[in-house]
C-alpha cells in the first residue's frame, strides 16, 4: 500500500531528474516517453494504493508513513512523511491519471517545439510537486509542495520565454501567488506556535484554539487558497496564464494545481469549522467568483481565455461547496471538473494545433465538418460543463447547488441564487464558444487548413514546425487517444454519485471530512430540474444569439466593462503598482541619486586623504622608528607602573 504511494510520489521526480541530467544525450522523443512513462508509473502506484485502501474498513483508511526525520530541534521534529487517505488518494489518482494523459498528449502537441526536453522535465517536476502537495503528511511538506507547484507553474507559463507576454504572465502568476503563499505561511506559523506541532489539525487540536486564533489561521489559509485557485480578488493571474502551452493550461491551470485551494480547505476543514465566519467567507467568495468569471467569459474572444474564466467559475462552485461544508461534493466537482475541463482544453489544443496556433474564435467557425472527432469530444465536454444529464458535470454541480439550498437561511439562499445564475452563465458562455467555433459556415482560416494538414506546416505563434504522423486528419494519435479517454471519463465520471441511490464517492470522502450539510434526495432532484432547465435556457440564449449573428452581451457600456475584465487589472495597477512606482521614483530622485550615489566620490576622496596623511608617518628613517618603539615602551612602562 505505502510502497505504491511512495512510488507514485517519487516516479515523476525520478523522471524529471533523469531528463534533466541526461540533457542532449537522449532524443526529444525519449524525453517525452520518460516523462509520460514516469507519470503513468506514478498512476500505477496510486491505483495499487487505492485498491488496497479500498479493501480496508472506512475508519482504518488513514495511513501516515514516515521515511526519515528531516529536521530536529529539541522536542520539535519534522519528518519526511506522506499521508495516504481517501482525500489524498483521490487527488493522487487525478493528478497522475489526468496528468499522464496530458503529458502523453503533449508528445503530439509539442512535437518539433524548441526545448521539448525542458518542457517534459518541467511537466514531470510539476506532477511531483503536486503529489508532494497532496501527499505531504504535515503542514511543512504541504507548504513545500505548495511552493513547488507555484514554481512549476511559473516555469511553464513562461515556457515560451522569447515572448514578452508569456514572461509577464509568468511573473504575474508568481507574484499573485506569493501574496497567498505569504498569508498561508503566516497562518501555519500561528497554528504551529499555538499547537506546537506540524501535524495536520485534529479535532482536539482545532477545538483547543481560541476563536480569534482559529479565525486568523483560517483567514491565512483562505488567502493561500484563493490565490492558488484564482478566486476573487486574487484571480487576475489565471487568464494571463493561458500564455503557456495548451497542455499546461489543461493540466496546471484547469485540472490540478488551481484546485489545490479546494484540497487545502478540505484537508484543514477542522480549522475552518472552528472559524465558521471564515468558512462562510470562502463560500461567498466562491459564489461571487462563479458569477463574475461567468460574465467576463461571455465576451472573451480567445478560446483558451473563455475556458480559463470558466475554470475560475467552476472552482467557485468548489469553494462554495467547501465553504458550506459539503466536502464530498467539493472533491467530487474537483474530479469531474478535472475530466471535462482537461477535455475542453485538450480539444481546444487540437483545434489550435490544427489551425497553426490561431486562438481567436472570430477566425474559427464551421469546424464541425472538418474535425468531427474533436467536435464530438468538445461537445461532450461542453455539455458536461453546462451540467446536462447524464454527463459528469451534472451530478457534481447539482449536488453543490442542492447543498446550498439545503443550507437555507440568508446565506444558503443567496448562494443558491448565485449558483443558479452561474448555471445560466455557464450554459451561455460555453455554447457561445461551441457555436462560434464549430457551427456556421467554415471561415477562411478553417478552409485554408482543411485539406493540407498532412505534410507539415509552420506552427504560427508557437513557432514550431509541422509534424509527420497523422493517422487522422485532426492531429497525431498521441493527441487524439488522450482526448478520447477523457471524453469517456467526462461522460461517465459523474455516475459515482447518484443521490439517494449510489453514492460511493461521497462515503469515500466522508470518512475523512464529515459533511456539515447534506441535501435530501428530494431537494437534490428538485434543484437539479431547476438547474438543468436554467442551464438549458443559457444554451438556448447562446443559440438564439448565434443564429441572429449577434453577441450575447451587445450593449456598449457593460460590454466594454466586461472586455476590460471588470477593471481588476486597472484597479490593482492604480492601487498597488502605481503608488509603488511613484514611491520608488521619488526615492531614486531624492535619496538614491543625491545621497547614495552622490556621496560615493566624497567617501572615496576622504579615504584617499586619510591614506595620504597616514603614509607620511612612514618616513623610511630607521632610527626614528627605533625611537618611537623605545619611547612607546617607556610610556607603557610608566603607565603600567603608575596604574599599579
Amino acid at each position: 500500500m505505502i510502497a505504491g504511494a511512495w512510488l507514485c510520489l517519487l516516479a515523476p521526480l525520478a523522471g524529471a531528474l533523469l531528463i534533466t541530467l541526461a540533457g542532449t544525450r537522449i532524443s526529444r522523443a525519449a524525453a517525452a516517453w520518460i516523462s509520460t512513462g514516469s507519470v503513468f508509473l506514478g498512476f500505477a502506484g496510486a491505483v495499487d494504493a487505492f485498491i488496497r485502501v479500498l479493501g480496508e474498513s472506512p475508519e482504518d483508511r488513514t495511513h501516515l508513513s514516515t521515511a526519515y526525520t528531516w529536521v530536529t530541534a529539541g522536542s520539535f521534529k519534522v519528518s519526511m512523511q506522506i499521508l495516504v487517505d481517501p482525500v489524498s488518494l483521490t487527488m493522487m489518482l487525478i493528478v497522475t491519471g489526468v496528468g499522464g494523459l496530458i503529458v502523453w498528449y503533449s508528445m503530439g502537441y509539442m512535437k518539433g517545439e524548441d526545448e521539448e526536453r525542458r518542457y517534459f522535465a518541467y511537466m514531470a517536476l510539476f506532477v511531483f510537486a503536486m503529489l508532494m502537495l497532496v501527499m505531504g503528511g504535515n503542514l511543512l511538506l504541504l507548504l513545500v509542495g505548495w511552493g513547488l507547484v507555484g514554481l512549476a507553474s511559473y516555469l511553464l507559463i513562461g515556457f515560451y520565454h522569447e515572448r514578452p507576454e508569456a514572461v509577464a504572465a509568468a511573473k504575474k502568476a508568481f507574484l499573485m501567488n506569493a501574496i497567498g503563499d505569504a498569508t498561508m505561511a503566516l497562518g501555519f506559523f500561528l497554528l504551529i506556535a499555538k499547537t506546537g506541532t506540524l501535524a495536520f489539525p485534529t479535532e482536539a487540536s482545532a477545538g483547543a484554539l481560541s476563536s480569534s486564533t482559529a479565525n486568523l489561521v483560517a483567514l491565512g489559509l483562505l488567502g493561500g487558497a484563493i490565490a492558488k485557485s484564482a478566486q476573487l480578488p486574487l484571480h487576475t493571474w489565471l487568464p494571463d496564464a493561458m500564455e503557456g502551452p495548451t497542455p499546461v493550461s489543461a493540466l496546471i491551470h484547469a485540472a490540478t494545481m488551481v484546485t489545490a485551494g479546494v484540497y487545502l480547505i478540505v484537508r484543514t476543514h477542522l480549522i475552518f469549522q472552528a472559524a465558521p465566519d471564515v468558512q462562510h467567507l470562502s463560500a461567498v467568495l466562491g459564489g461571487i467568483t462563479i458569477v463574475v468569471a461567468g460574465v467576463i467569459a461571455l465576451v472573451q474572444w480567445d478560446i483558451k481565455r473563455v475556458i480559463a474564466y470558466s475554470t475560475m467559475s467552476q472552482i467557485g462552485y468548489m469553494f462554495l461547496a467547501a465553504g458550506l461544508g459539503a466536502y464530498g461534493y467539493a472533491m467530487f466537482h474537483l474530479m469531474t471538473h478535472a475530466f471535462f475541463k482537461a477535455l475542453l482544453f485538450l480539444s481546444a489544443g487540437v483545434i489550435i494545433h490544427h489551425l497553426a496556433g490561431e486562438q481567436d474564435i472570430r477566425k474559427m467557425g464551421g469546424l464541425r465538418k472538418v474535425m468531427p472527432f474533436t467536435h464530438a469530444a468538445f461537445l461532450v465536454g461542453a455539455l458536461a460543463l453546462a451540467g446536462i444529464p447524464p454527463l459528469s458535470g451534472f451530478w457534481s454541480k447539482d449536488g453543490i447547488i442542492a447543498s446550498s439550498f439545503a443550507e437555507g437561511g440568508v446565506l444558503g439562499y443567496s448562494l443558491f441564487a448565485l449558483a443558479l445564475l452561474g448555471a445560466l452563465l455557464t450554459g451561455a458562455y460555453t455554447f457561445r464558444l461551441y457555436f462560434l467555433v464549430f457551427h456556421g459556415p467554415p471561415s477562411d482560416l478553417v478552409l485554408e487548413h482543411a485539406g493540407g494538414h498532412g505534410s507539415g506546416h509552420a506552427h504560427g505563434t508557437e513557432g514550431a514546425e509541422g509534424h509527420g504522423e497523422h493517422a487522422h486528419g485532426e492531429g497525431p494519435l498521441s493527441m487524439l487517444i488522450p482526448v478520447g479517454i477523457l471524453t469517456v471519463l467526462a461522460a461517465i465520471g459523474g455516475l459515482l454519485v447518484i443521490p439517494g441511490v449510489w453514492e460511493p464517492f461521497l462515503t469515500w470522502i466522508d470518512s475523512v471530512a464529515e459533511p456539515l450539510v447534506t441535501a435530501t434526495p428530494g431537494q437534490d432532484y428538485a434543484t437539479s430540474v431547476l438547474a438543468v432547465s436554467i442551464g438549458g435556457i443559457g444554451i438556448w440564449l447562446a443559440w438564439r444569439a448565434f443564429v441572429a449573428g449577434r453577441e450575447l452581451v451587445a450593449t456598449g457600456g457593460i460590454r466594454t466593462a466586461l472586455e476590460h475584465k471588470l477593471y481588476f487589472d486597472e484597479l490593482y495597477d492604480a492601487v498597488f503598482s502605481r503608488p509603488a512606482q511613484l514611491v520608488a521614483n521619488l526615492l531614486r530622485e531624492r535619496v538614491e541619486e543625491p545621497v547614495v550615489q552622490g556621496s560615493l566620490p566624497e567617501i572615496g576622496a576622504g579615504v584617499e586623504d586619510a591614506a595620504d596623511g597616514t603614509a607620511r608617518l612612514q618616513s623610511g628613517l630607521l632610527r626614528s622608528y627605533a625611537l618611537v618603539v623605545a619611547a612607546s615602551v617607556a610610556v607603557l612602562v610608566v603607565v603600567f607602573v603608575a596604574v599599579r
Binding site: Q618, S619, G620, L621, A630
Partner: protein
C-alpha cells in the same frame, strides 16, 4: 647561593639595554646599529638567566637559548644586507636608506 643578588644582574642588564638602545637610536652606520641590537638582546638574555638562577628553574635559560638562535638568524640577514649595500657601493648610512618611505 653564590655570587651577588639578582638585582645586580638586572642592573647590569638594564645598563646594557640602555647602551644598546642608545646605539640603535643615535648611530647611523648599519653595522653599529646591528651591534647595538646584539647588545640589547644579550641584555635581555642576562635578565633571563639572572631570573632563572633566582627562581631556580631552567625556563629562563631555555628562553635565552631561543633568543640566541633568533639573534644568530637576525645577524645573518642583517650582515647579508650590509654586504649587499657595500657591493652596490651604497652609502652605509641608515638615514639615507629611506627607499621604503610612504
Amino acid at each position: 647561593m653564590l655570587g651577588p643578588d639578582v638585582t645586580w644582574y638586572l642592573a647590569i642588564s638594564a645598563v646594557l639595554f640602555a647602551i644598546g638602545a642608545t646605539g640603535v637610536v643615535l648611530r647611523r652606520s648599519p653595522l653599529i646599529v646591528l651591534l647595538s641590537l646584539e647588545i640589547m638582546l644579550n641584555a635581555s638574555n642576562l635578565a633571563f638567566v639572572g631570573f632563572s638562577r633566582h627562581f631556580g628553574t631552567v625556563d629562563g635559560q631555555i628562553f635565552a637559548l631561543c633568543v640566541m638562535a633568533v639573534a644568530a638568524a637576525e645577524v645573518c640577514v642583517g650582515l647579508g644586507m650590509i654586504v649587499a649595500f657595500s657591493r652596490r657601493r651604497m652609502a652605509l648610512d641608515v638615514d639615507t636608506l629611506t627607499e621604503l618611505h610612504g
